[in-house]
Every structure is written in structure tokens, then in C-alpha cells.
């Protein structure tokens, strides 16, 4: 573009030389310096002294044949015949910004096209390379879904049969063995419930209804009684009547996980105090506690605070997801080696105000 301007200015210069030749011939009958609306010009003699000029700016560079300055383009040409004494002819035009914006536009358009092409290729290759990984993940996901589903039947059978056994006719030794089977089956069952919730249930439509929290907590405490008994952990219940409008399975998962953790991370012979009021409940254990800086991490998936205990670290993550879904509020208060207290507050509207 810039070189095109040079050609244009060179043509102007030749045109001006012809005009100067005519003027020189007709001088002094004609004395009007040749002017052209397309350009401005100046003539200087061999001693670089100005003869005549129509340039905007009189600063002249004799050592540059073609240059841009202050929004103007100048071209210099030497004359072989010094018409009117002129050795140097300068042609000046205003810089045409159109070529600049045209170049910028072309760069932008071309850049965008190249970017889109690269993006398409990138997407294609990313898909190609990630396909085996995706397939593996789908396979793994399917496997987990299938296995968890297949676990349900035998665990239910074990638990049902354990419940039906008549403990009164059983020897003390066998009663203890049966209690251990019961605990183990309930632990697996609890794990099964969490995994099922994560892989299958959490995407299902919620069936919200009024849940009697007092009765639910009492049921779950009874369910975990044998597990707590194995660590000689005692329950201290202070429950008032309260109802909450929520999905029954989901609130059960919340309470199960909180009680399960309170037992799991409790010390032998410890206690669990459960307080239920109209718009909140607190589950407080006398366990190992959590370091202050780690309290905020308890809801992260796969976070476990004691590797000697079983589990995958998914329980509190499930609790948090349910709490968030129902816009409830959960707060953790923990002192290391003294215990942890978890409080869940119900929002107005979820509790029965009657």
C-alpha cells in the first residue's frame, strides 16, 4: 500500500516537471506556479535554496527520497534540466489512512478465520484424544452403578435375617458375633446408600413432604445403636417436636451421615448429644475434633480426617449438596481432641410454623 503511494507520487512528480518545463519556456509571460489539487509541491535550486513552495510544512529532508512525517507523505525527485533553476522537486500529499485501516481489517478477518479453523481442529483432536478416557469413565460409571445395585439385595437379605433372629435362645458368644455381622452389614448398607445417592439418586426428582424430624432421628439413632454400642458410644437425645418440608430420602441421608460420622470419629466410651428444636438441630460428639484450618474442607469430596476409619470421604459432601439444594444452613464448630458440633438451621417456609 505504502509503495503504491510512491508510484502515485512519482507520477505526480513527472506531471509537475512537464508543467515546470512549460512555465520555464513561457516565462516571464506566464508566472503562475503550477498547482494541482491532488498534491502540493516545492522546488529548490542546486544550492538547496527555496525557489517556490506550496508545502504545508517547510522542513525539508534532502537526504530522503520518500518519507512520511506528521501525517504527510513526501517524494523527492531530481531534475535533469533545471527548469526555473530547480534541481530538487518535492511532491507532498496527506497520508491516506484508508490503506492502514484496510490492512488492519484484512489482518483481523484473516486472524479470525485462522482462529476458527484452529478452534475446529482443536475441538476435533481433543475429542479424538479424550474419547478413550470418556469411554473408560462411562464404563467405570456403569460398573459402579451395576455393582451398587447388585449389592442391595444381599445386604438387605443379611440385615433382614439378622433382625429376625431370636436373640433370647442364643448364647452370649453367638449374640456378640451376630451383633458384629449386623454392624458390618449396616456399615456396608450405609456406604451403599451414599454411593447409590451419588451415582443414581441425586438427579431424580425430589418428592418433598412434611417429615417428622423427631421420629426420623429416633429411628436413625435406633438403627445406629448397635454400631455406636460397639464403640460404647452413648446417645443423649434432647428432641422437641419439629417437622420439615423436604424429600424423606435426602433428609435421611443428611442425618445418617452426620450420626455415622459422629460415631466413626468418636472416642471409645464417648457420647453423642442430639438436640432438636423447631428450626434447627445439632449433633455434637465428644470425638477427635478437627483442626481449625481444616474445618472449611470438611465438605470437600474425598476428604477424610482419619485414615484409620473406613469410608470414602463422600458423606459430608452429600450432606452439603442436599443442604445447598434446600437452601438450609450448616455450620461446623470443632475443637481438636474435644469434639465436633454440627448445626443445621432450617429456613422459614421449610419448617411447619403451626
Amino acid at each position: 500500500m505504502y509503495s503504491n503511494q510512491r508510484t502515485t507520487l512519482s507520477n505526480y512528480a513527472h506531471e509537475q516537471i512537464q508543467q515546470l518545463r512549460r512555465l520555464h519556456r513561457d516565462f516571464p509571460q506566464k508566472t503562475d506556479y503550477p498547482r494541482n489539487p491532488e498534491f502540493r509541491s516545492a522546488i529548490y535550486d542546486i544550492e538547496r535554496s527555496k525557489i517556490f513552495s506550496t508545502l504545508k510544512n517547510q522542513n525539508i529532508y534532502f537526504n530522503k527520497a520518500f518519507y512520511r512525517k506528521n501525517g504527510m507523505i513526501r517524494f523527492m525527485m531530481y531534475l535533469d534540466d533545471y527548469y526555473l533553476g530547480a534541481k530538487y522537486l518535492f511532491i507532498e500529499i496527506d497520508e491516506d489512512k484508508e490503506w492502514y485501516s484496510r490492512v488492519m481489517m484484512e489482518i483481523f478477518t484473516l486472524g479470525t478465520i485462522i482462529l476458527i479453523v484452529f478452534a475446529i481442529f482443536g475441538l476435533f483432536f481433543v475429542n479424538l484424544f479424550l474419547r478413550p478416557m470418556k469411554n473408560s469413565m462411562v464404563l467405570l460409571d456403569d460398573f459402579i452403578k451395576d455393582t451398587t445395585h447388585e449389592l442391595n439385595t444381599p445386604i438387605s437379605a443379611i440385615l433382614a435375617n439378622v433382625e429376625m433372629m431370636d436373640l433370647t435362645v442364643m448364647e452370649e458368644k453367638n449374640r456378640k458375633k451376630l451383633a458384629r455381622i449386623n454392624i458390618a452389614a449396616k456399615t456396608v448398607s450405609h456406604l451403599y446408600q451414599d454411593l447409590t445417592y451419588l451415582t443414581l439418586d441425586h438427579n431424580r426428582q425430589s418428592k418433598d413432604e412434611w417429615i417428622d424430624l423427631k421420629r426420623l432421628i429416633e429411628d436413625r439413632v435406633e438403627y445406629f445403636a448397635i454400631l455406636a454400642g460397639s464403640k460404647k458410644v452413648t446417645f443423649d437425645l434432647d428432641l422437641n417436636y419439629s417437622t420439615i418440608f423436604i424429600d424423606g430420602i435426602k433428609i435421611a441421608r443428611v442425618i445418617d451421615n452426620l450420626i455415622s460420622n459422629a460415631i466413626k470419629y468418636n472416642k471409645r466410651g464417648g457420647s453423642i448429644k442430639i438436640t432438636l428444636r423447631k428450626d434447627y438441630f445439632i449433633i455434637k460428639d465428644s470425638g477427635i475434633g478437627i483442626e481449625a484450618e481444616k474445618v472449611n474442607d470438611v465438605f470437600e469430596r474425598y476428604t477424610r480426617f482419619n485414615s484409620s476409619e473406613g469410608g470414602f470421604g463422600i458423606g459430608l459432601n452429600i450432606v452439603k449438596s442436599i443442604i445447598d439444594e434446600y437452601s438450609l444452613k450448616i455450620s461446623v464448630d470443632s475443637v481438636l481432641k474435644e469434639g465436633t458440633s454440627i448445626r443445621v438451621d432450617f429456613l422459614k417456609g421449610t419448617v411447619d410454623d403451626k
Partner: protein, 120 residues
């Protein structure tokens, strides 16, 4: 008193102006006396010759130096006049003017036809 002063001032200016005019006339005299008499009979005017010199030598200093050199030592080879002219009138004779007079005459010649003063 003031009118006397004004009168003295006017008189001084008038005398200075006359002195200056005399000097200029004297300077131009060399050109008028030694150049014009011959050239006014020639078909090529002094202005045309000026334009020829200008087209050949461009700048003032080069112009004057070349013309002076030619007038002191006129040669066919150094003449800017066309061949037909040389054939018809041959080259002029060497100048009899001193360097100073020659410079004055050439200065007058340059000033008289300087294109800078005429272009507009």
C-alpha cells in the same frame, strides 16, 4: 524647535535616500553601460539568456561563477547558447571589465531576472 528637528530629519533622510539611489544607479550603471548596448541589438534577449543559464546552472552562486568565468574566457565549449547562435554570432570577446565591475554587472543581471521575485 520641533519643526526644526523634523526638517533636519527629513533633510537627512532625503540625502541618505539620494546617496543610496546614486549607489544603486552606479552599480546598475556597469550593467547598463557594458551589457545592454550590445545585447539590445541581438535577437536573443538578455532574459532568454538568463533562463538558459538558469536551466543549466540552477543556483545563484553557480550561475554567477559560471557566467563570470565565461565572460572572462569565452569559449564555444563553455557557452550555453545554441549551436545556431554560435554559428551566426560566434562567441563574444573577452571582457574588459575588472572583477569588481564584472561582479556588479552580474549581480544586477541576477537581481533583474530572478524568478523567485516573479513566481506567484
Amino acid at each position: 524647535m520641533i519643526s526644526k528637528l523634523v526638517l533636519v530629519l527629513l533633510l537627512t533622510l532625503s540625502l541618505t535616500g539620494k546617496e543610496f539611489k546614486k549607489k544603486v544607479d552606479k552599480k546598475h550603471n556597469v550593467y547598463n553601460q557594458h551589457c545592454l548596448p550590445c545585447h539590445k541589438h541581438l535577437p536573443y534577449s538578455l532574459e532568454k539568456i538568463y533562463m538558459l543559464y538558469l536551466k543549466t546552472f540552477s543556483g545563484e552562486l553557480t550561475f554567477k561563477a559560471s557566467l563570470k568565468a565565461f565572460l572572462k574566457e569565452p569559449l564555444e565549449e563553455t557557452s550555453v547558447m545554441p549551436d545556431e547562435w554560435i554559428e551566426n554570432f560566434s562567441v563574444k570577446e573577452k571582457t574588459i571589465l575588472s572583477d569588481k565591475e564584472l561582479d556588479e554587472a552580474i549581480d544586477t543581471y541576477w537581481e533583474l531576472y530572478d524568478v523567485r521575485n516573479k513566481l506567484h
